[in-house]
Protein backbone atom coordinates (compact mmCIF):
# COMPACT_ATOMS: atom_id res chain seq x y z
CA UNK A 1 0.00 0.00 0.00
CA UNK A 2 2.76 2.34 0.98
CA UNK A 3 4.60 1.35 -2.17
CA UNK A 4 1.56 2.24 -4.27
CA UNK A 5 1.22 5.60 -2.63
CA UNK A 6 4.85 6.27 -3.13
CA UNK A 7 4.57 5.24 -6.79
CA UNK A 8 1.58 7.46 -7.38
CA UNK A 9 3.39 10.32 -5.75
CA UNK A 10 6.38 9.80 -7.98
CA UNK A 11 4.11 9.69 -11.02
CA UNK A 12 2.40 12.90 -10.01
CA UNK A 13 5.68 14.54 -9.31
CA UNK A 14 7.02 13.32 -12.62
CA UNK A 15 4.05 14.68 -14.52
CA UNK A 16 4.29 17.96 -12.69
CA UNK A 17 7.96 18.21 -13.40
CA UNK A 18 7.44 17.43 -17.06
CA UNK A 19 4.67 19.99 -17.37
CA UNK A 20 6.73 22.65 -15.63
CA UNK A 21 9.70 21.86 -17.82
CA UNK A 22 7.60 22.14 -20.94
CA UNK A 23 6.11 25.39 -19.67
CA UNK A 24 9.54 26.84 -19.06
CA UNK A 25 10.63 25.64 -22.46
CA UNK A 26 7.58 27.36 -23.94
CA UNK A 27 8.61 30.53 -22.16
CA UNK A 28 12.09 30.53 -23.56
CA UNK A 29 11.49 29.00 -26.97
CA UNK A 30 12.25 31.16 -30.02
CA UNK A 31 9.55 33.53 -31.14
CA UNK A 32 9.13 31.87 -34.52
CA UNK A 33 8.62 28.47 -33.00
CA UNK A 34 6.29 29.97 -30.41
CA UNK A 35 4.20 31.54 -33.14
CA UNK A 36 4.12 28.30 -35.09
CA UNK A 37 2.94 26.29 -32.09
CA UNK A 38 0.29 28.86 -31.20
CA UNK A 39 -0.92 28.95 -34.78
CA UNK A 40 -1.20 25.17 -34.89
CA UNK A 41 -3.27 25.15 -31.74
CA UNK A 42 -5.51 27.96 -32.96
CA UNK A 43 -6.13 26.18 -36.25
CA UNK A 44 -6.82 22.86 -34.54
CA UNK A 45 -8.83 22.19 -31.45
CA UNK A 46 -9.20 25.83 -30.56
CA UNK A 47 -10.80 26.86 -33.87
CA UNK A 48 -14.49 26.43 -32.90
CA UNK A 49 -13.88 28.17 -29.62
CA UNK A 50 -12.26 31.05 -31.42
CA UNK A 51 -15.32 31.35 -33.63
CA UNK A 52 -17.43 31.60 -30.51
CA UNK A 53 -15.12 34.22 -29.09
CA UNK A 54 -15.25 36.21 -32.29
CA UNK A 55 -19.04 36.23 -32.31
CA UNK A 56 -19.18 37.22 -28.67
CA UNK A 57 -16.77 40.05 -29.33
CA UNK A 58 -18.88 41.20 -32.26
CA UNK A 59 -21.99 41.15 -30.08
CA UNK A 60 -20.27 43.21 -27.47
CA UNK A 61 -19.02 45.64 -30.09
CA UNK A 62 -22.56 45.96 -31.40
CA UNK A 63 -23.92 46.64 -27.93
CA UNK A 64 -21.21 49.13 -27.14
CA UNK A 65 -21.53 50.92 -30.45
CA UNK A 66 -25.33 51.12 -30.33
CA UNK A 67 -25.28 54.46 -28.58
CA UNK A 68 -22.69 55.73 -31.01
CA UNK A 69 -24.78 54.50 -33.90
CA UNK A 70 -27.85 56.26 -32.57
CA UNK A 71 -25.88 59.44 -32.04
CA UNK A 72 -24.38 59.24 -35.50
CA UNK A 73 -27.79 58.54 -37.01
CA UNK A 74 -29.19 61.62 -35.32
CA UNK A 75 -26.30 63.71 -36.57
CA UNK A 76 -26.81 62.42 -40.09
CA UNK A 77 -30.53 63.18 -39.92
CA UNK A 78 -29.84 66.72 -38.74
CA UNK A 79 -27.25 67.22 -41.45
CA UNK A 80 -29.61 65.84 -44.07
CA UNK A 81 -32.37 68.19 -43.01
CA UNK A 82 -30.04 71.15 -42.96
CA UNK A 83 -28.68 70.17 -46.38
CA UNK A 84 -32.18 69.95 -47.79
CA UNK A 85 -33.03 73.35 -46.35
CA UNK A 86 -29.85 74.78 -47.80
CA UNK A 87 -30.63 73.28 -51.20
CA UNK A 88 -34.12 74.72 -51.16
CA UNK A 89 -32.76 78.09 -50.16
CA UNK A 90 -30.18 77.90 -52.92
CA UNK A 91 -32.86 77.08 -55.46
CA UNK A 92 -34.95 80.01 -54.28
CA UNK A 93 -31.95 82.30 -54.46
CA UNK A 94 -31.05 81.09 -57.93
CA UNK A 95 -34.58 81.67 -59.12
CA UNK A 96 -34.74 85.13 -57.62
CA UNK A 97 -31.34 85.93 -59.13
CA UNK A 98 -32.64 84.79 -62.50
CA UNK A 99 -35.64 87.02 -62.08
CA UNK A 100 -33.39 89.89 -61.11
CA UNK A 101 -31.25 89.42 -64.20
CA UNK A 102 -34.35 89.47 -66.37
CA UNK A 103 -35.68 92.58 -64.68
CA UNK A 104 -32.20 94.16 -64.99
CA UNK A 105 -33.08 97.23 -62.92
CA UNK A 106 -35.85 98.98 -61.07
CA UNK A 107 -36.40 96.52 -58.27
CA UNK A 108 -35.39 96.02 -54.67
CA UNK A 109 -34.66 92.63 -53.19
CA UNK A 110 -36.28 92.12 -49.81
CA UNK A 111 -36.47 89.49 -47.12
CA UNK A 112 -39.66 88.57 -45.34
CA UNK A 113 -39.55 89.49 -41.67
CA UNK A 114 -41.20 87.26 -39.12
CA UNK A 115 -44.52 88.74 -38.08
CA UNK A 116 -46.60 88.18 -35.00
CA UNK A 117 -49.92 89.07 -36.54
CA UNK A 118 -52.76 86.58 -36.49
CA UNK A 119 -53.23 86.81 -40.24
CA UNK A 120 -49.58 86.38 -40.96
CA UNK A 121 -50.28 84.47 -44.13
CA UNK A 122 -52.02 87.44 -45.68
CA UNK A 123 -49.80 90.31 -44.61
CA UNK A 124 -46.04 90.21 -44.47
CA UNK A 125 -43.33 92.57 -43.36
CA UNK A 126 -40.36 93.35 -45.58
CA UNK A 127 -36.96 94.60 -44.57
CA UNK A 128 -36.94 97.41 -47.13
CA UNK A 129 -38.72 100.73 -46.98
CA UNK A 130 -38.89 104.15 -48.46
CA UNK A 131 -35.16 104.54 -48.10
CA UNK A 132 -34.80 101.95 -50.84
CA UNK A 133 -37.47 103.54 -52.99
CA UNK A 134 -40.34 101.36 -51.89
CA UNK A 135 -43.71 103.06 -52.02
CA UNK A 136 -47.23 101.94 -51.24
CA UNK A 137 -49.07 100.18 -54.06
CA UNK A 138 -45.95 98.78 -55.61
CA UNK A 139 -46.11 95.13 -56.61
CA UNK A 140 -44.15 92.40 -54.84
CA UNK A 141 -43.09 89.49 -56.99
CA UNK A 142 -41.11 86.29 -56.79
CA UNK A 143 -39.54 84.17 -59.46
CA UNK A 144 -42.78 82.20 -59.63
CA UNK A 145 -45.07 85.17 -60.08
CA UNK A 146 -47.10 87.79 -58.29
CA UNK A 147 -46.76 87.74 -54.52
CA UNK A 148 -48.67 90.80 -53.35
CA UNK A 149 -48.59 94.55 -53.02
CA UNK A 150 -46.97 97.02 -50.65
CA UNK A 151 -49.61 98.51 -48.39
CA UNK A 152 -47.56 100.76 -46.12
CA UNK A 153 -43.92 101.69 -46.20
CA UNK A 154 -41.73 103.06 -43.42
CA UNK A 155 -38.19 104.19 -43.85
CA UNK A 156 -36.59 100.77 -43.46
CA UNK A 157 -39.52 98.39 -43.37
CA UNK A 158 -42.69 97.96 -45.28
CA UNK A 159 -45.80 95.85 -45.05
CA UNK A 160 -47.35 94.07 -47.96
CA UNK A 161 -50.54 92.17 -48.46
CA UNK A 162 -50.31 88.88 -50.29
CA UNK A 163 -52.70 87.69 -52.92
CA UNK A 164 -54.57 85.79 -50.23
CA UNK A 165 -55.55 89.00 -48.46
CA UNK A 166 -59.28 89.78 -48.81
CA UNK A 167 -58.46 93.26 -50.13
CA UNK A 168 -56.27 91.93 -52.92
CA UNK A 169 -57.46 92.25 -56.52
CA UNK A 170 -55.65 92.47 -59.81
CA UNK A 171 -56.81 92.93 -63.36
CA UNK A 172 -55.81 89.81 -65.22
CA UNK A 173 -55.98 88.01 -68.50
CA UNK A 174 -55.16 84.63 -69.89
CA UNK A 175 -51.67 84.31 -71.30
CA UNK A 176 -53.02 84.16 -74.86
CA UNK A 177 -55.02 87.34 -74.17
CA UNK A 178 -58.26 85.53 -74.93
CA UNK A 179 -59.98 86.30 -71.66
CA UNK A 180 -59.89 89.24 -69.29
CA UNK A 181 -61.19 89.54 -65.77
CA UNK A 182 -60.33 90.22 -62.17
CA UNK A 183 -58.32 87.89 -59.96
CA UNK A 184 -59.13 87.95 -56.27
CA UNK A 185 -58.58 85.52 -53.40
CA UNK A 186 -60.88 82.57 -53.14
CA UNK A 187 -62.53 83.10 -49.76
CA UNK A 188 -63.04 79.46 -48.96
CA UNK A 189 -62.11 77.45 -45.92
CA UNK A 190 -59.19 75.18 -45.30
CA UNK A 191 -56.93 74.53 -48.22
CA UNK A 192 -59.34 76.34 -50.57
CA UNK A 193 -58.38 79.56 -48.82
CA UNK A 194 -55.03 79.35 -50.59
CA UNK A 195 -56.64 79.58 -54.02
CA UNK A 196 -57.51 82.46 -56.31
CA UNK A 197 -60.56 83.26 -58.37
CA UNK A 198 -60.53 84.60 -61.91
CA UNK A 199 -63.83 86.46 -62.02
CA UNK A 200 -65.74 88.25 -64.72
CA UNK A 201 -64.49 86.21 -67.65
CA UNK A 202 -66.90 86.60 -70.57
CA UNK A 203 -69.16 83.63 -70.94
CA UNK A 204 -68.14 83.11 -74.55
CA UNK A 205 -64.54 82.53 -73.47
CA UNK A 206 -63.86 79.10 -72.04
CA UNK A 207 -60.46 78.46 -70.48
CA UNK A 208 -58.85 75.06 -70.31
CA UNK A 209 -57.33 73.62 -67.21
CA UNK A 210 -53.74 74.72 -66.93
CA UNK A 211 -54.18 78.02 -68.69
CA UNK A 212 -51.76 80.57 -67.30
CA UNK A 213 -53.30 83.79 -66.07
CA UNK A 214 -51.16 86.93 -65.97
CA UNK A 215 -51.73 90.50 -64.97
CA UNK A 216 -53.27 92.54 -67.76
CA UNK A 217 -51.71 95.88 -66.89
CA UNK A 218 -55.08 97.60 -66.61
CA UNK A 219 -54.81 99.90 -63.66
CA UNK A 220 -51.80 101.57 -62.18
CA UNK A 221 -50.50 99.01 -59.70
CA UNK A 222 -49.53 95.83 -61.49
CA UNK A 223 -47.72 95.95 -64.83
CA UNK A 224 -48.75 93.66 -67.63
CA UNK A 225 -47.33 90.13 -67.75
CA UNK A 226 -46.81 89.06 -64.14
CA UNK A 227 -47.83 85.45 -63.74
CA UNK A 228 -50.64 85.11 -61.22
CA UNK A 229 -51.68 81.48 -61.43
CA UNK A 230 -53.03 78.65 -63.52
CA UNK A 231 -56.61 77.61 -64.10
CA UNK A 232 -57.75 74.58 -62.14
CA UNK A 233 -61.45 74.46 -62.88
CA UNK A 234 -64.52 76.58 -63.42
CA UNK A 235 -66.62 77.59 -60.44
CA UNK A 236 -70.38 77.66 -60.61
CA UNK A 237 -71.63 81.09 -59.57
CA UNK A 238 -74.88 83.01 -59.68
CA UNK A 239 -73.53 85.17 -62.48
CA UNK A 240 -74.78 83.53 -65.62
CA UNK A 241 -73.29 86.09 -67.95
CA UNK A 242 -69.71 85.56 -66.87
CA UNK A 243 -67.47 82.69 -65.89
CA UNK A 244 -65.41 82.35 -62.75
CA UNK A 245 -62.38 80.08 -62.59
CA UNK A 246 -60.46 78.68 -59.69
CA UNK A 247 -56.75 79.43 -59.96
CA UNK A 248 -53.76 77.82 -58.40
CA UNK A 249 -51.49 80.68 -57.34
CA UNK A 250 -48.04 80.83 -58.86
CA UNK A 251 -46.30 82.06 -55.71
CA UNK A 252 -47.25 80.63 -52.35
CA UNK A 253 -47.19 83.06 -49.42
CA UNK A 254 -45.98 80.36 -47.07
CA UNK A 255 -42.93 79.69 -49.19
CA UNK A 256 -41.08 82.63 -47.67
CA UNK A 257 -37.67 83.47 -48.99
CA UNK A 258 -36.53 86.55 -50.82
CA UNK A 259 -38.93 88.64 -52.88
CA UNK A 260 -38.53 91.54 -55.23
CA UNK A 261 -40.35 94.84 -54.96
CA UNK A 262 -40.89 96.41 -58.36
CA UNK A 263 -40.24 100.11 -58.11
CA UNK A 264 -42.70 102.46 -59.81
CA UNK A 265 -40.45 103.32 -62.74
CA UNK A 266 -39.84 99.64 -63.50
CA UNK A 267 -43.52 98.87 -63.23
CA UNK A 268 -44.32 101.63 -65.67
CA UNK A 269 -41.82 100.21 -68.16
CA UNK A 270 -43.60 96.87 -68.16
CA UNK A 271 -42.45 93.35 -67.47
CA UNK A 272 -43.74 91.59 -70.53
CA UNK A 273 -40.56 89.65 -71.21
CA UNK A 274 -39.74 88.68 -67.66
CA UNK A 275 -42.06 85.70 -67.21
CA UNK A 276 -42.14 84.86 -70.92
CA UNK A 277 -40.66 81.44 -70.39
CA UNK A 278 -43.60 80.50 -68.24
CA UNK A 279 -46.09 81.65 -70.82
CA UNK A 280 -44.24 79.93 -73.63
CA UNK A 281 -44.09 76.73 -71.66
CA UNK A 282 -47.82 76.99 -71.20
CA UNK A 283 -48.33 77.51 -74.92
CA UNK A 284 -46.17 74.51 -75.68
CA UNK A 285 -48.09 72.32 -73.31
CA UNK A 286 -51.39 73.41 -74.77
CA UNK A 287 -50.07 72.78 -78.29
CA UNK A 288 -49.14 69.27 -77.27
CA UNK A 289 -52.59 68.77 -75.78
CA UNK A 290 -54.18 70.14 -78.94
CA UNK A 291 -52.16 67.73 -81.07
CA UNK A 292 -53.44 64.85 -78.96
CA UNK A 293 -57.00 66.11 -79.38
CA UNK A 294 -56.53 66.38 -83.14
CA UNK A 295 -55.47 62.77 -83.38
CA UNK A 296 -58.47 61.66 -81.37
CA UNK A 297 -60.75 63.75 -83.54
CA UNK A 298 -59.32 62.28 -86.72
CA UNK A 299 -59.78 58.77 -85.43
CA UNK A 300 -63.41 59.51 -84.56
CA UNK A 301 -64.07 60.95 -88.01
CA UNK A 302 -62.55 57.94 -89.69
CA UNK A 303 -64.75 55.68 -87.62
CA UNK A 304 -67.78 57.76 -88.55
CA UNK A 305 -66.95 57.53 -92.24
CA UNK A 306 -66.64 53.78 -92.05
CA UNK A 307 -69.97 53.59 -90.26
CA UNK A 308 -71.61 55.63 -92.98
CA UNK A 309 -70.32 53.37 -95.68
CA UNK A 310 -71.69 50.38 -93.82
CA UNK A 311 -75.08 52.04 -93.40
CA UNK A 312 -75.18 52.97 -97.06
CA UNK A 313 -74.40 49.45 -98.08
CA UNK A 314 -77.15 48.12 -95.85
CA UNK A 315 -79.76 50.59 -97.12
CA UNK A 316 -78.90 49.97 -100.76
CA UNK A 317 -78.92 53.64 -101.61
CA UNK A 318 -76.96 55.34 -104.36
CA UNK A 319 -73.56 56.37 -103.09
CA UNK A 320 -73.39 59.35 -105.37
CA UNK A 321 -76.45 61.09 -104.05
CA UNK A 322 -75.50 60.55 -100.37
CA UNK A 323 -72.09 61.83 -100.98
CA UNK A 324 -73.50 65.17 -101.83
CA UNK A 325 -75.64 65.17 -98.77
CA UNK A 326 -72.82 64.11 -96.43
CA UNK A 327 -70.50 66.88 -97.34
CA UNK A 328 -69.64 68.82 -94.20
CA UNK A 329 -70.86 72.33 -93.73
CA UNK A 330 -67.43 73.78 -93.84
CA UNK A 331 -66.88 72.49 -97.37
CA UNK A 332 -70.26 73.03 -98.95
CA UNK A 333 -68.78 75.48 -101.43
CA UNK A 334 -66.38 72.94 -102.78
CA UNK A 335 -66.73 72.02 -106.40
CA UNK A 336 -64.62 68.91 -106.21
CA UNK A 337 -66.06 65.49 -106.62
CA UNK A 338 -65.38 64.10 -103.19
CA UNK A 339 -65.87 60.55 -102.29
CA UNK A 340 -67.43 59.48 -99.05
CA UNK A 341 -64.02 59.20 -97.39
CA UNK A 342 -62.77 62.51 -98.67
CA UNK A 343 -65.88 64.25 -97.48
CA UNK A 344 -64.86 63.64 -93.89
CA UNK A 345 -61.40 65.20 -93.68
CA UNK A 346 -58.32 65.23 -95.77
CA UNK A 347 -56.11 64.43 -92.77
CA UNK A 348 -58.07 61.38 -91.69
CA UNK A 349 -56.07 58.50 -90.34
CA UNK A 350 -57.89 55.93 -92.39
CA UNK A 351 -55.53 54.39 -94.97
CA UNK A 352 -55.98 55.42 -98.52
CA UNK A 353 -56.80 52.83 -101.20
CA UNK A 354 -53.73 51.47 -102.86
CA UNK A 355 -55.34 50.61 -106.21
CA UNK A 356 -54.57 52.36 -109.48
CA UNK A 357 -55.96 55.86 -109.82
CA UNK A 358 -59.09 56.22 -111.96
CA UNK A 359 -58.55 57.31 -115.47
CA UNK A 360 -60.50 60.23 -116.91
CA UNK A 361 -62.44 63.01 -115.29
CA UNK A 362 -63.54 62.37 -111.75
CA UNK A 363 -67.28 62.21 -111.20
CA UNK A 364 -68.51 64.94 -108.92
CA UNK A 365 -71.29 67.34 -108.26
CA UNK A 366 -71.87 70.09 -110.71
CA UNK A 367 -70.96 73.58 -109.63
CA UNK A 368 -73.77 75.53 -108.13
CA UNK A 369 -75.44 76.19 -104.80
CA UNK A 370 -74.57 73.87 -101.94
CA UNK A 371 -76.84 70.90 -101.47
CA UNK A 372 -79.05 70.62 -98.47
CA UNK A 373 -77.71 68.84 -95.46
CA UNK A 374 -79.82 66.52 -93.40
CA UNK A 375 -80.35 67.69 -89.79
CA UNK A 376 -79.09 64.37 -88.52
CA UNK A 377 -75.87 65.01 -90.33
CA UNK A 378 -75.54 68.32 -88.62
CA UNK A 379 -75.97 66.72 -85.23
CA UNK A 380 -73.36 64.14 -86.12
CA UNK A 381 -70.86 66.76 -87.16
CA UNK A 382 -71.45 69.31 -84.51
CA UNK A 383 -69.91 67.60 -81.50
CA UNK A 384 -67.04 66.27 -83.54
CA UNK A 385 -66.14 69.66 -84.83
CA UNK A 386 -66.35 71.07 -81.36
CA UNK A 387 -63.71 68.63 -80.28
Amino acid sequence: MARNVSGSGRLDAGLLTACIALAIFALVMPVALREQVAQTIRAGALAPLLVLEGRATAIRATIVSREDVLTARGDVAVETLSTRAINEENQALRKIMGLGSRLQSGFVAAELLPTRAMDEDFEVALNVGTAAGVEPFTPVVTADGLFGMIRTADRNTSFAITWAHPDFAVSAMSADEAAFGIVAPHLGTGIDRLMLEFRGVPFRTALDTGTVVVSSGLGSTYPRGIVIGTVISEIATAEKWARTYLLRPAALPSAGGPVLVLLPDRASRGVNDVWTSVASADSASRAIAAAGDSTARDAALAELAARRVALDSAAGTQPGSDTLARRPLSRTDSTRADSAKRSVRSDTTKPKPTGPPPVGPKPGPPPGPPPETHPVELLQHLPLDLR
Binding site: D12, L16, I20, L27, A45, L49, E53, A56
Partner: protein, 169 residues
Protein backbone atom coordinates in the same frame (compact mmCIF):
# COMPACT_ATOMS: atom_id res chain seq x y z
CA UNK B 1 -17.11 -2.31 -6.60
CA UNK B 2 -20.83 -2.74 -6.88
CA UNK B 3 -22.54 -2.03 -10.23
CA UNK B 4 -24.70 0.72 -8.66
CA UNK B 5 -21.65 2.52 -7.33
CA UNK B 6 -19.93 2.14 -10.71
CA UNK B 7 -22.95 3.65 -12.50
CA UNK B 8 -23.05 6.49 -10.04
CA UNK B 9 -19.35 7.11 -10.59
CA UNK B 10 -19.71 7.15 -14.36
CA UNK B 11 -22.64 9.57 -14.16
CA UNK B 12 -20.70 11.82 -11.85
CA UNK B 13 -17.76 11.79 -14.23
CA UNK B 14 -19.98 12.62 -17.19
CA UNK B 15 -21.58 15.47 -15.29
CA UNK B 16 -18.15 16.75 -14.34
CA UNK B 17 -16.97 16.60 -17.93
CA UNK B 18 -20.11 18.43 -19.08
CA UNK B 19 -19.64 21.12 -16.44
CA UNK B 20 -15.99 21.45 -17.41
CA UNK B 21 -16.90 21.80 -21.08
CA UNK B 22 -19.53 24.41 -20.33
CA UNK B 23 -17.04 26.48 -18.38
CA UNK B 24 -14.47 26.29 -21.16
CA UNK B 25 -17.08 27.34 -23.70
CA UNK B 26 -18.21 30.14 -21.39
CA UNK B 27 -14.63 31.38 -21.24
CA UNK B 28 -14.66 31.96 -24.98
CA UNK B 29 -18.30 33.01 -25.44
CA UNK B 30 -19.47 34.76 -22.27
CA UNK B 31 -16.25 36.38 -21.10
CA UNK B 32 -15.82 38.61 -24.16
CA UNK B 33 -19.26 40.08 -23.53
CA UNK B 34 -17.96 41.83 -20.43
CA UNK B 35 -15.31 44.12 -21.73
CA UNK B 36 -13.71 45.29 -18.55
CA UNK B 37 -10.38 45.14 -16.82
CA UNK B 38 -11.98 43.04 -14.09
CA UNK B 39 -13.09 39.89 -15.83
CA UNK B 40 -14.43 36.51 -14.84
CA UNK B 41 -11.89 33.74 -15.33
CA UNK B 42 -14.01 30.75 -16.33
CA UNK B 43 -10.91 28.75 -17.27
CA UNK B 44 -9.59 29.02 -13.73
CA UNK B 45 -12.94 27.92 -12.29
CA UNK B 46 -12.99 24.95 -14.66
CA UNK B 47 -9.42 24.08 -13.68
CA UNK B 48 -10.15 24.21 -9.97
CA UNK B 49 -13.43 22.33 -10.19
CA UNK B 50 -11.89 19.60 -12.34
CA UNK B 51 -8.65 19.37 -10.42
CA UNK B 52 -10.34 18.32 -7.20
CA UNK B 53 -11.65 15.27 -8.99
CA UNK B 54 -8.31 14.26 -10.45
CA UNK B 55 -4.97 13.05 -9.25
CA UNK B 56 -2.40 15.81 -8.87
CA UNK B 57 -0.36 14.61 -11.79
CA UNK B 58 -3.36 14.31 -14.10
CA UNK B 59 -4.57 17.67 -12.86
CA UNK B 60 -1.19 19.13 -13.76
CA UNK B 61 -1.51 17.76 -17.28
CA UNK B 62 -5.03 19.18 -17.54
CA UNK B 63 -3.74 22.53 -16.35
CA UNK B 64 -0.96 22.29 -18.89
CA UNK B 65 -3.42 21.75 -21.74
CA UNK B 66 -5.74 24.52 -20.62
CA UNK B 67 -2.80 26.86 -20.25
CA UNK B 68 -1.72 25.90 -23.75
CA UNK B 69 -5.14 26.93 -25.08
CA UNK B 70 -4.90 30.27 -23.30
CA UNK B 71 -1.36 30.96 -24.41
CA UNK B 72 -2.24 30.14 -28.01
CA UNK B 73 -4.25 33.35 -27.95
CA UNK B 74 -1.36 35.35 -26.48
CA UNK B 75 1.86 34.28 -28.17
CA UNK B 76 3.83 37.10 -26.53
CA UNK B 77 3.36 35.49 -23.14
CA UNK B 78 3.47 31.95 -24.44
CA UNK B 79 4.29 29.56 -21.58
CA UNK B 80 3.23 31.79 -18.71
CA UNK B 81 -0.33 30.55 -18.73
CA UNK B 82 0.87 26.98 -19.06
CA UNK B 83 3.10 27.31 -16.05
CA UNK B 84 0.51 29.10 -13.96
CA UNK B 85 -2.36 26.73 -14.66
CA UNK B 86 -0.14 23.67 -14.20
CA UNK B 87 0.86 24.82 -10.75
CA UNK B 88 -2.67 25.91 -9.83
CA UNK B 89 -4.21 22.64 -10.98
CA UNK B 90 -1.62 20.57 -9.19
CA UNK B 91 -2.00 22.59 -6.04
CA UNK B 92 -5.81 22.43 -6.16
CA UNK B 93 -5.72 18.68 -6.55
CA UNK B 94 -3.22 18.41 -3.74
CA UNK B 95 -5.40 20.59 -1.51
CA UNK B 96 -8.65 18.89 -2.45
CA UNK B 97 -9.45 18.39 1.22
CA UNK B 98 -10.57 21.99 1.32
CA UNK B 99 -13.27 21.25 -1.18
CA UNK B 100 -14.35 18.18 0.64
CA UNK B 101 -15.64 20.45 3.34
CA UNK B 102 -18.23 21.40 0.73
CA UNK B 103 -18.43 24.85 2.23
CA UNK B 104 -19.32 27.66 -0.11
CA UNK B 105 -17.29 30.28 1.70
CA UNK B 106 -14.20 28.07 1.72
CA UNK B 107 -14.73 27.29 -1.94
CA UNK B 108 -15.00 30.97 -2.70
CA UNK B 109 -11.85 31.70 -0.73
CA UNK B 110 -10.03 28.93 -2.54
CA UNK B 111 -11.07 30.26 -5.94
CA UNK B 112 -10.05 33.75 -4.88
CA UNK B 113 -6.61 32.58 -3.82
CA UNK B 114 -6.29 30.43 -6.93
CA UNK B 115 -7.07 33.34 -9.19
CA UNK B 116 -4.70 35.62 -7.36
CA UNK B 117 -1.90 33.07 -7.53
CA UNK B 118 -2.59 32.43 -11.19
CA UNK B 119 -2.35 36.12 -12.03
CA UNK B 120 0.77 36.54 -9.95
CA UNK B 121 2.52 33.62 -11.62
CA UNK B 122 1.31 34.69 -15.05
CA UNK B 123 2.44 38.29 -14.69
CA UNK B 124 5.79 37.41 -13.25
CA UNK B 125 6.47 34.66 -15.74
CA UNK B 126 5.44 36.75 -18.71
CA UNK B 127 7.14 39.87 -17.32
CA UNK B 128 3.95 41.70 -18.16
CA UNK B 129 4.31 44.42 -15.56
CA UNK B 130 7.02 45.84 -13.39
CA UNK B 131 7.26 48.22 -10.46
CA UNK B 132 4.18 50.26 -9.74
CA UNK B 133 2.19 48.62 -12.47
CA UNK B 134 2.94 45.21 -11.00
CA UNK B 135 1.82 46.36 -7.58
CA UNK B 136 -1.29 47.98 -8.99
CA UNK B 137 -2.14 44.86 -10.87
CA UNK B 138 -1.53 42.47 -7.99
CA UNK B 139 -3.08 44.61 -5.28
CA UNK B 140 -5.99 46.17 -7.10
CA UNK B 141 -7.06 44.59 -10.35
CA UNK B 142 -6.21 41.01 -9.59
CA UNK B 143 -8.08 41.00 -6.23
CA UNK B 144 -11.09 42.53 -7.92
CA UNK B 145 -11.01 39.95 -10.68
CA UNK B 146 -10.41 37.20 -8.15
CA UNK B 147 -13.36 38.33 -6.06
CA UNK B 148 -15.61 38.42 -9.10
CA UNK B 149 -14.44 35.00 -10.18
CA UNK B 150 -15.03 33.64 -6.68
CA UNK B 151 -18.56 35.03 -6.62
CA UNK B 152 -19.31 33.44 -9.97
CA UNK B 153 -17.84 30.14 -8.74
CA UNK B 154 -20.09 30.22 -5.70
CA UNK B 155 -23.09 30.97 -7.88
CA UNK B 156 -22.24 28.07 -10.15
CA UNK B 157 -21.85 25.73 -7.23
CA UNK B 158 -25.21 26.86 -5.91
CA UNK B 159 -27.15 26.81 -9.13
CA UNK B 160 -25.52 23.82 -10.83
CA UNK B 161 -24.71 21.73 -7.85
CA UNK B 162 -24.96 18.33 -9.61
CA UNK B 163 -22.42 19.46 -12.18
CA UNK B 164 -19.79 20.99 -9.96
CA UNK B 165 -20.15 19.29 -6.59
CA UNK B 166 -17.03 17.31 -5.70
CA UNK B 167 -17.69 13.88 -4.29
CA UNK B 168 -15.33 12.48 -1.69
CA UNK B 169 -13.58 9.37 -2.82
Amino acid sequence: MRPQQRTSGVGSALRAIAGFGLLVVAHFSVRPLFGSRVMIDFILIATLFAAVRLRPGIAAVMGFLLGLSIDAMAPNSFGAGILALTLIAFGASWLKAVFFANHLALTGLFVFLGKWCFDAIFIVASRGALGVDLMLQLLLWTPLAAALTAVVAILLLTLFRPLYRAQPS
